[in-house]
Symmetry: C2
Subunit: 145 residues, 2 copies
């Protein structure tokens, strides 16, 4: 993991569909060398995959919320993960410091759909109660790094 790898990562972050020639040019390498580096970054797990940035508005998913989760007892992170991964509307979940046990980022079509999804979250055995904050407008959404 050196400066060349970081250039390659910056390049595919900007455009995951870059050709190897383009990636190589960005990193100062030939196309085959760029492919070998990229393959290695995927193999070692530094790059977890390649995905598209979808305008969820265009797809009709217009309602977002951040949800603080308070648990019953002391569930392990793994238990929480198991209960949440079945709920498609939860796009991000982390255990956190502070009063709450976890923070969820949820995405739904509209308020009724969000309400119904939060309801499903609250039905999980380990979850006691939730506190939701509705997103009004999105200011920034950057690819990580």
């Amino acid at each position: 993991m050196d400066a060349i790898d970081e250039e390659i990562i910056r390049c595919v972050l900007r455009n995951a569909r870059s050709t190897y020639a383009e990636i190589g040019e960005a990193a100062g390498l030939s196309a085959p060398a760029a492919k070998r580096r990229l393959d290695r970054l995927v193999a070692t797990g530094a790059i977890r995959g390649f995905t598209a940035l979808i305008d969820t508005q265009a797809l009709g998913w217009r309602t977002e919320a951040f949800v603080e989760v308070y648990c019953k007892g002391n569930p392990s992170p793994a238990e929480l993960q198991r209960d949440l991964e079945g709920i498609q509307e939860v796009v991000e979940a982390c255990t956190v410091s502070g009063a709450a046990d976890a923070m969820l980022h949820m995405l739904a079509r509209d308020i009724p759909h969000l309400e119904q999804a939060i309801q499903r979250v609250r039905e999980a055995p380990v979850i006691d109660r939730t506190e939701s904050v509705i997103v009004l407008s999105r200011l920034l959404n950057r690819p990580r790094l």
Copy 2:
């Protein structure tokens, strides 16, 4: 925006580096037809771009936080956006309902780096104070949809 477009989106969400032949197979189309559809989805903005999923741990960015922002007066979303987009550590920002004015998702190398980045956030003229929650462990991180 029909069922075929949705299949194409599902395919590039799973792997943004799919060939047009693969995308076409997933959507029941020939490769040139798949390319025309994908180009149209990018042109209309339904697909905002293609990016890589980076294991930020592997890159040494191991510290994440959610930061509630309280503003002075009533800044417009555009003003907030202007003040935040210069801070690379802010990966997501939204205005929200509830007591806070905005919610930030921040990513830093370590706690000192995070503290320094939050300090830069607090120096923005429109920002009064912040309340941070540190991420302990990441349970889920799904591509949207």
